[in-house]
């Protein structure tokens, strides 16, 4: 029973109506009564109350019981203030029948939590009213565990419930609050899920019947919460699944942090390498290149100081030529080394210049067809160098064998591929009749394959020749597998070393 009710009762008892002289006296008495009541409660709370005995059911109560389908007030073997009491019971729904309706009515003095198969169905804390839960959809065939955790504030306590299950066949079954319930000790942890009672769980005690004081004969009202829907326990809601997902997440997070750190280091190593390459290129260009230019100029000047017919002038002329060639070769080295040139745009412009210079020494005209606005996509050194060598080979072949008077160089970007075409309208050849001396073609194809690209040669006797190189922009070996190996395998220093090996190897 509720404490406030008790206090009011006590206050009324000690407050006789006759002779109230003054207002403050009334207040004093009330206050004193409250304090006394509280003190009294506090003092006796440790003491167990004697159990109430169930009385005979009155005819009025019988009607109520029949109408509402209730059991008796049950509790454990004693009443205590601030007492928790757990009830447990199993029941089974037959396999061969279908539940048409299952209504469960429950109340508790003072409060309860109701569980079915471990799931909390509801709670209540008003012992004067009844709550009606519709469990129709929850009662699947098979065994079920019903559990109630009740709490008593003070003095008498009890739980009253009854469940009526109607089957499609017309059969009915009831689960009522009676001494078939087991009392579960408060230190049991898995009791909500336990399908068998422990042998030391005592039976519940009937402490009263409907209509017995201090409880009601008819409830003040009946509350009906919405029909409960089965909460499908999906596999992803299960504890083991959630915990394994959590574990996977934690592991993934750790792994990605580790990889990110590795990648950052690798990126840093790559940056250092790029910077170093740019520095080397600059040094070669500034020091060696300037010195060579100076050499060319000085020998040109020296040349002018001799008469046209002088053999020394001719020698200086040769000297100039060699120095110019060296300067040109140096430019090529600088281009290859310089990391700032690792772009498709730069590659295309370099290739055009190369083709024009190369063919300017022949009678063959060089025609260019370059995609406008060539993007500055990253084009790795190993790839661009390999492709350059292959295109050089193709140009060389065309110049040497085709007898064409025009060679077309076409550069396009198609999706993630660079396509370089070297085409001539010369005499062509029959690819079937390729002999050993044309092994340059095999080399060309092999070189492209090594770099993850392809090379297609189309030619027929008298119909010119078309060589098409197709190269992925993100070199698969360097970007995917290879870099994974580097991330997982090599240490930082080794990465740079591997990069150098890669550069040297190409």
């Amino acid at each position: 029973m509720r404490l406030p009710a008790r206090q009011q009762f006590l206050a009324a008892e000690q407050n006789p109506r006759a002779g109230i002289p003054k207002k403050h006296l009334l207040l004093f008495v009330l206050t004193a009564a409250c304090i006394a009541g509280l003190f009294f409660c506090e003092n006796v709370s440790a003491q167990p109350y004697p159990l109430t005995k169930p009385q005979k059911v009155t005819p009025q109560a019988e009607k109520v019981i029949a109408q509402l389908g209730l059991g008796s007030w049950i509790w454990t073997t004693n009443f205590e203030d601030k007492q928790t009491c757990r009830f447990w019971k199993t029941f089974s729904i037959p396999e061969n029948d279908h539940v048409r309706q299952a209504l469960l009515r429950i109340t508790a003095d003072n409060s309860y939590h109701l569980y079915l198969d471990g799931r909390e169905i509801g709670e209540g804390s008003n012992w004067k009213s009844l709550t009606e839960y519709d469990l129709t959809f929850l009662l699947t065939p098979g065994n079920h565990v019903m559990a109630i955790e009740a709490f008593n504030d003070g003095r008498e306590a009890g739980v009253l419930m009854g469940m009526k299950v109607t089957f499609a066949s017309g059969d009915q079954t009831e689960v009522l609050s009676d001494d078939s319930w087991r009392i579960v000790p408060n230190n049991s942890h898995r009791w909500l899920h336990q399908t068998r009672p422990d042998p030391n769980w005592p039976a519940a005690t009937i402490v009263g019947v409907v209509g017995q004081s201090p409880w009601w004969l008819t409830p003040v009202n009946i509350m009906t919460p919405p029909t409960l829907q089965p909460s499908l326990m999906h596999f992803w809601q299960t504890t083991w699944f959630l915990s394994s997902v959590l574990t996977v997440c934690v592991v993934a997070l750790g792994l990605s942090l580790w990889l990110a750190a590795k990648l950052a280091l690798r990126t840093r190593a790559q940056q250092l390498l790029d910077l170093e390459r740019a520095r080397i290129a600059r040094d070669i260009h500034d020091d060696l290149g300037a010195a060579l230019t100076q050499l060319v100029l000085q020998s040109e000047v020296a040349q002018t100081e001799y008469p046209e017919s002088s053999p020394i002038r001719a020698q200086f002329g040769q000297f100039c030529g060699s120095a110019r060639a060296a300067s040109h070769a140096l430019d090529e080295v600088v281009w290859a080394v310089n990391s700032k040139r690792d772009t498709l745009r730069d590659f295309s412009s370099y290739l055009c210049k190369y083709a024009q210079t190369f063919l300017s020494n022949t009678t063959i005209r060089c025609r260019l067809d370059i995609q406008p606005d060539m993007p500055a996509s990253v084009f790795d050194l190993s790839v661009r160098r390999g492709l350059l060598l292959a295109v050089k080979e193709a140009l060389n072949n065309a110049a040497k064998h085709s007898e064409a008077n025009e060679i077309l160089l076409r550069i396009n970007k198609e999706g993630n591929h660079v396509i370089v075409v070297v085409e001539d309208q010369g005499k062509g050849f029959d690819p079937e009749l390729l002999t050993g001396e044309r092994n340059g073609l095999q080399n060309m194809m092999q070189r492209l394959q090594d770099l993850g690209g392809t090379c297609q040669i189309a030619s027929a006797a008298g119909a010119g020749c078309r060589v098409e190189f197709r190269m992925p922009l993100a070199h698969p070996a360097a970007r995917a597998g290879f870099s994974w190996r580097r991330i997982f395998g090599a240490q930082n220093g080794e990465t740079v070393a591997a990069e150098w090996q890669n550069l040297k190897g190409s």
Partner: protein, 230 residues
């Protein structure tokens, strides 16, 4: 754009009135070599040798040379910035850039800043002479790569108000053929023009490029980031 120097300049040159060249180059040996080389041509004279962009800005404008040869890499103020400033003061004097390496990116920036052509430092003296004459009588030769970039730059929307500057159909045609690897001679044949006309198209293209980028150019190259080598 309205007055072209070639129209007022007599196309013949003689030792009596040699063409005056101003040279801007920071390395002394290179500078002297260039000067000697230029002086070795009978119709050219190197009238002014500057060791820095600052010297050039001070010395060159009063002398009014016929052509200025400018190194791209100069200490402190770059050759490109110097070109932009000089072009502001003497818009009609052609400026030819000297580069050690064939770097299109840099050359293109220089052309936008106001240069009228470029030469590799290892150019043969005969080519040097003809290039200087080209600059004076028409447009300097343009490589296919530069031609491609010029076409691209004209197709982009101009940043400033100079949207009236655009290429004529002929000029664009010339540029497209250049970018396809045609020589001036082949272009002339193909379009049924004289080589001189093709060169004059080129000159106009250079000029339009300057005018187009001038408004922004000076400010960009003067306050902009330093030019990187390599």
């Amino acid at each position: 754009m309205t007055s072209l120097r070639t129209e007022t300049k007599p196309p013949t040159f003689s030792a009596a009135s040699p063409l005056k060249i101003a040279l801007v180059e920071d390395k002394r040996d290179v500078r002297e070599s260039w000067a000697k080389l230029i002086n070795s041509f009978s119709d050219f004279t190197c009238m002014c040798k500057c060791a820095s962009a600052e010297d050039a800005l001070r010395m060159i404008p009063p002398l009014q040379p016929d052509v200025i040869l400018m190194d791209i890499f100069l200490p402190r103020m770059s050759g490109i910035e110097c070109t932009a400033r000089l072009k502001n003061e003497m818009p009609r004097t052609p400026i030819v850039m000297l580069t050690a390496s064939d770097d299109d990116e840099l050359v293109f920036v220089a052309l936008q800043a106001g240069a009228d052509g470029y030469l590799l430092k290892r150019t043969k003296p005969a080519d040097l002479r003809s290039a200087l004459l080209d600059v004076l009588t028409g447009g300097a030769p343009m490589s296919s790569e530069i031609a491609r970039r010029v076409v691209e730059s004209f197709r982009q929307k101009p940043r400033e108000r100079d949207d009236s500057i655009s290429l004529t159909a002929r000029e664009e045609e010339t540029l497209l053929l250049l970018s396809k690897g045609y020589s001036n001679k082949e272009i002339a044949d193909r379009l049924g023009l004289s080589i001189e006309t093709v060169r004059s198209h080129l000159k106009h293209i250079y000029e339009k490029m300057h005018v187009r980028s001038r408004a922004g150019a000076v400010a960009r190259y003067i306050s902009g980031k330093p030019i990187e080598n390599g």
